[in-house]
Protein backbone atom coordinates (compact mmCIF):
# COMPACT_ATOMS: atom_id res chain seq x y z
CA UNK A 1 0.00 0.00 0.00
CA UNK A 2 1.30 3.45 -0.84
CA UNK A 3 2.03 5.83 2.04
CA UNK A 4 -0.41 8.28 0.45
CA UNK A 5 -3.15 5.63 0.83
CA UNK A 6 -2.15 4.96 4.44
CA UNK A 7 -2.59 8.63 5.40
CA UNK A 8 -6.43 8.62 5.38
CA UNK A 9 -6.60 5.20 7.09
CA UNK A 10 -4.67 6.54 10.10
CA UNK A 11 -6.01 10.10 9.76
CA UNK A 12 -2.33 10.92 9.72
CA UNK A 13 -0.54 14.15 8.97
CA UNK A 14 2.73 14.39 7.03
CA UNK A 15 5.60 15.84 9.07
CA UNK A 16 8.21 15.60 6.33
CA UNK A 17 8.98 13.84 3.08
CA UNK A 18 5.81 14.65 1.12
CA UNK A 19 7.70 13.84 -2.08
CA UNK A 20 8.14 10.20 -0.99
CA UNK A 21 4.47 9.47 -0.28
CA UNK A 22 4.28 7.41 -3.47
CA UNK A 23 6.52 4.84 -1.79
CA UNK A 24 5.02 1.38 -1.18
CA UNK A 25 5.00 -0.06 2.33
CA UNK A 26 5.24 -3.84 1.89
CA UNK A 27 4.79 -4.65 5.59
CA UNK A 28 4.20 -2.93 8.94
CA UNK A 29 6.00 -3.26 12.27
CA UNK A 30 4.91 -1.64 15.54
CA UNK A 31 7.54 -1.29 18.28
CA UNK A 32 9.30 0.96 20.74
CA UNK A 33 12.30 -1.37 20.86
CA UNK A 34 14.83 -0.36 18.23
CA UNK A 35 16.86 -3.56 18.45
CA UNK A 36 13.67 -5.47 17.67
CA UNK A 37 13.12 -3.21 14.68
CA UNK A 38 16.69 -3.94 13.54
CA UNK A 39 16.23 -7.69 14.11
CA UNK A 40 12.74 -8.38 12.85
CA UNK A 41 11.86 -5.97 10.04
CA UNK A 42 12.40 -6.40 6.32
CA UNK A 43 13.13 -3.74 3.69
CA UNK A 44 10.31 -1.31 2.82
CA UNK A 45 8.55 -1.81 6.16
CA UNK A 46 6.50 1.00 7.68
CA UNK A 47 7.39 1.49 11.35
CA UNK A 48 4.80 2.56 13.90
CA UNK A 49 6.41 3.81 17.09
CA UNK A 50 6.02 6.01 20.14
CA UNK A 51 9.74 6.88 20.15
CA UNK A 52 10.66 10.28 18.72
CA UNK A 53 14.43 10.39 19.28
CA UNK A 54 17.24 10.66 16.75
CA UNK A 55 17.99 6.93 16.96
CA UNK A 56 14.62 6.08 15.43
CA UNK A 57 15.71 7.92 12.28
CA UNK A 58 19.09 6.14 12.30
CA UNK A 59 17.35 2.81 12.74
CA UNK A 60 15.02 3.55 9.83
CA UNK A 61 18.03 4.57 7.74
CA UNK A 62 20.10 1.43 8.32
CA UNK A 63 17.04 -0.85 8.01
CA UNK A 64 15.83 0.72 4.71
CA UNK A 65 12.36 1.32 6.18
CA UNK A 66 9.64 2.83 3.96
CA UNK A 67 8.78 5.45 6.57
CA UNK A 68 7.79 6.10 10.18
CA UNK A 69 4.41 6.82 11.78
CA UNK A 70 4.53 8.39 15.24
CA UNK A 71 1.52 7.21 17.24
CA UNK A 72 -0.31 8.91 20.11
CA UNK A 73 0.24 12.29 18.46
CA UNK A 74 3.90 12.32 19.57
CA UNK A 75 5.76 14.97 17.64
CA UNK A 76 9.55 14.79 17.18
CA UNK A 77 11.79 17.86 17.49
CA UNK A 78 12.62 20.01 14.46
CA UNK A 79 16.18 18.66 14.14
CA UNK A 80 14.77 15.12 13.92
CA UNK A 81 12.54 16.19 11.02
CA UNK A 82 15.48 17.84 9.27
CA UNK A 83 17.55 14.69 9.60
CA UNK A 84 14.74 12.49 8.25
CA UNK A 85 14.31 14.85 5.30
CA UNK A 86 18.04 14.62 4.58
CA UNK A 87 17.98 10.81 4.80
CA UNK A 88 14.89 10.48 2.61
CA UNK A 89 12.63 9.03 5.31
CA UNK A 90 9.00 10.22 5.26
CA UNK A 91 7.53 10.90 8.72
CA UNK A 92 3.83 10.74 9.54
CA UNK A 93 1.97 11.44 12.77
CA UNK A 94 -1.36 10.09 13.98
CA UNK A 95 -3.33 10.72 17.17
CA UNK A 96 -4.30 7.05 17.26
CA UNK A 97 -2.63 4.81 19.86
CA UNK A 98 -0.37 1.96 18.68
CA UNK A 99 -2.96 -0.82 18.93
CA UNK A 100 -5.67 1.01 17.00
CA UNK A 101 -3.23 2.20 14.32
CA UNK A 102 -1.85 -1.33 13.79
CA UNK A 103 -5.38 -2.77 13.78
CA UNK A 104 -6.59 -0.39 11.10
CA UNK A 105 -3.61 -1.11 8.84
CA UNK A 106 -4.06 -4.86 9.32
CA UNK A 107 -7.76 -4.50 8.46
CA UNK A 108 -6.70 -2.76 5.27
CA UNK A 109 -4.61 -5.71 4.16
CA UNK A 110 -1.15 -4.80 5.44
CA UNK A 111 0.67 -7.68 7.09
CA UNK A 112 3.57 -7.96 9.53
CA UNK A 113 7.17 -8.88 8.77
CA UNK A 114 7.07 -12.63 9.43
Amino acid sequence: MRLSQILPVLKAEVLCGTKWLGREAETVYGSDLLSDVLAFTTEETLLLTGLTNIQVIRTAEVSDLAGIVFVNGKRPAVEILAMAEEKGIPLLITKLPMYEACGLLYQNGLKGCM
Binding site: S35, Q55, V62, S63
Partner: protein, 145 residues
Protein backbone atom coordinates in the same frame (compact mmCIF):
# COMPACT_ATOMS: atom_id res chain seq x y z
CA UNK B 1 33.73 -3.63 -9.93
CA UNK B 2 37.03 -5.44 -10.09
CA UNK B 3 39.26 -2.43 -10.54
CA UNK B 4 42.54 -2.21 -8.69
CA UNK B 5 41.39 0.12 -5.92
CA UNK B 6 38.51 -2.17 -4.95
CA UNK B 7 40.76 -5.23 -4.85
CA UNK B 8 42.96 -3.38 -2.37
CA UNK B 9 39.90 -2.41 -0.39
CA UNK B 10 38.46 0.83 0.87
CA UNK B 11 39.42 1.62 4.44
CA UNK B 12 37.18 3.71 6.71
CA UNK B 13 38.10 4.71 10.26
CA UNK B 14 35.95 6.29 12.96
CA UNK B 15 36.43 7.35 16.57
CA UNK B 16 33.50 6.60 18.87
CA UNK B 17 32.80 8.40 22.13
CA UNK B 18 30.86 6.77 24.96
CA UNK B 19 27.43 8.31 25.72
CA UNK B 20 27.53 10.49 22.58
CA UNK B 21 24.04 9.50 21.44
CA UNK B 22 23.62 12.38 19.00
CA UNK B 23 26.43 11.03 16.83
CA UNK B 24 25.65 7.36 17.41
CA UNK B 25 25.06 5.74 14.06
CA UNK B 26 26.99 8.26 11.96
CA UNK B 27 29.84 5.85 11.31
CA UNK B 28 27.48 3.09 10.18
CA UNK B 29 25.61 5.60 8.04
CA UNK B 30 28.87 6.57 6.27
CA UNK B 31 29.80 2.91 5.71
CA UNK B 32 26.35 2.34 4.19
CA UNK B 33 26.78 5.34 1.88
CA UNK B 34 30.12 4.05 0.54
CA UNK B 35 28.63 0.58 -0.05
CA UNK B 36 25.77 2.19 -2.00
CA UNK B 37 28.19 4.26 -4.05
CA UNK B 38 30.16 1.20 -5.17
CA UNK B 39 26.96 -0.64 -6.08
CA UNK B 40 26.71 -3.44 -3.51
CA UNK B 41 23.28 -5.16 -3.48
CA UNK B 42 20.79 -3.52 -1.11
CA UNK B 43 20.03 -6.66 0.94
CA UNK B 44 23.77 -7.12 1.58
CA UNK B 45 24.16 -3.45 2.50
CA UNK B 46 21.25 -3.79 4.91
CA UNK B 47 22.95 -6.66 6.75
CA UNK B 48 26.25 -4.78 6.97
CA UNK B 49 24.56 -1.53 8.08
CA UNK B 50 22.46 -3.23 10.77
CA UNK B 51 25.37 -5.20 12.27
CA UNK B 52 27.64 -2.13 12.15
CA UNK B 53 24.99 0.03 13.78
CA UNK B 54 24.27 -2.47 16.57
CA UNK B 55 27.99 -2.72 17.31
CA UNK B 56 28.45 1.06 17.15
CA UNK B 57 25.51 1.64 19.51
CA UNK B 58 26.94 -0.92 21.93
CA UNK B 59 30.17 1.07 22.20
CA UNK B 60 28.24 4.32 22.77
CA UNK B 61 26.07 2.66 25.44
CA UNK B 62 28.62 0.61 27.33
CA UNK B 63 32.18 1.83 26.65
CA UNK B 64 34.16 5.01 27.33
CA UNK B 65 35.54 5.27 23.82
CA UNK B 66 36.30 3.10 20.85
CA UNK B 67 37.55 2.79 17.30
CA UNK B 68 35.57 1.45 14.40
CA UNK B 69 37.12 0.35 11.15
CA UNK B 70 35.55 -0.92 7.94
CA UNK B 71 37.51 -2.61 5.16
CA UNK B 72 35.47 -2.92 2.01
CA UNK B 73 36.78 -5.38 -0.60
CA UNK B 74 35.15 -6.42 -3.85
CA UNK B 75 33.82 -9.68 -2.36
CA UNK B 76 33.31 -8.80 1.32
CA UNK B 77 33.17 -6.14 4.03
CA UNK B 78 35.05 -6.54 7.29
CA UNK B 79 34.21 -4.45 10.33
CA UNK B 80 36.23 -4.23 13.51
CA UNK B 81 35.35 -2.38 16.70
CA UNK B 82 37.73 -2.03 19.58
CA UNK B 83 36.61 -0.26 22.73
CA UNK B 84 37.96 0.76 26.07
CA UNK B 85 35.28 -0.02 28.58
CA UNK B 86 34.02 -2.36 31.27
CA UNK B 87 34.22 -5.44 29.03
CA UNK B 88 31.77 -8.35 29.13
CA UNK B 89 32.25 -10.76 32.07
CA UNK B 90 30.09 -13.55 30.60
CA UNK B 91 30.00 -13.51 26.78
CA UNK B 92 27.75 -16.59 26.50
CA UNK B 93 25.15 -14.85 28.65
CA UNK B 94 25.48 -11.59 26.70
CA UNK B 95 24.89 -13.49 23.45
CA UNK B 96 21.52 -14.76 24.69
CA UNK B 97 18.47 -13.07 23.11
CA UNK B 98 16.73 -10.85 25.61
CA UNK B 99 19.68 -10.52 28.00
CA UNK B 100 20.73 -6.91 28.56
CA UNK B 101 22.67 -4.88 31.11
CA UNK B 102 21.61 -1.53 29.63
CA UNK B 103 20.43 0.96 32.27
CA UNK B 104 16.94 2.48 32.38
CA UNK B 105 17.78 5.71 30.47
CA UNK B 106 19.11 3.61 27.57
CA UNK B 107 15.95 1.48 27.54
CA UNK B 108 13.88 4.65 27.32
CA UNK B 109 15.70 5.43 24.07
CA UNK B 110 14.53 2.11 22.66
CA UNK B 111 17.70 0.10 23.19
CA UNK B 112 18.58 -2.58 25.71
CA UNK B 113 16.18 -5.18 24.33
CA UNK B 114 18.97 -7.73 24.51
CA UNK B 115 18.98 -8.26 20.75
CA UNK B 116 22.19 -6.45 19.81
CA UNK B 117 24.78 -9.25 19.83
CA UNK B 118 22.39 -11.96 18.51
CA UNK B 119 21.42 -9.56 15.75
CA UNK B 120 25.08 -9.02 14.77
CA UNK B 121 25.54 -12.80 14.55
CA UNK B 122 22.38 -13.16 12.44
CA UNK B 123 23.40 -10.45 9.96
CA UNK B 124 27.02 -11.51 9.41
CA UNK B 125 28.82 -14.45 7.79
CA UNK B 126 31.57 -14.37 10.40
CA UNK B 127 31.43 -12.91 13.89
CA UNK B 128 33.97 -12.91 16.69
CA UNK B 129 33.98 -11.25 20.10
CA UNK B 130 36.85 -10.98 22.57
CA UNK B 131 36.46 -9.21 25.87
CA UNK B 132 38.54 -8.56 28.97
CA UNK B 133 36.70 -7.33 32.05
CA UNK B 134 37.84 -3.85 33.01
CA UNK B 135 39.76 -3.39 29.74
CA UNK B 136 37.41 -3.55 26.77
CA UNK B 137 35.88 -5.51 23.95
CA UNK B 138 36.89 -6.30 20.37
CA UNK B 139 34.30 -7.33 17.81
CA UNK B 140 35.17 -8.44 14.28
CA UNK B 141 32.53 -9.17 11.65
CA UNK B 142 32.55 -10.13 7.99
CA UNK B 143 29.77 -10.08 5.42
CA UNK B 144 30.26 -11.56 1.92
CA UNK B 145 28.92 -9.41 -0.92
Amino acid sequence: MRDGSLEQGISLHFNLVGADFDSAGEASSKIKLVLQQIGIRSEIIRRIAISAYEAEINVIIHAYRGKMQAEIYSDRTEIRLEDQGPGIPDIALAMREGYSTAPEHIRKMGFGAGMGLPNMVRCTDEFDIQSVTGVGTIITMMVRH
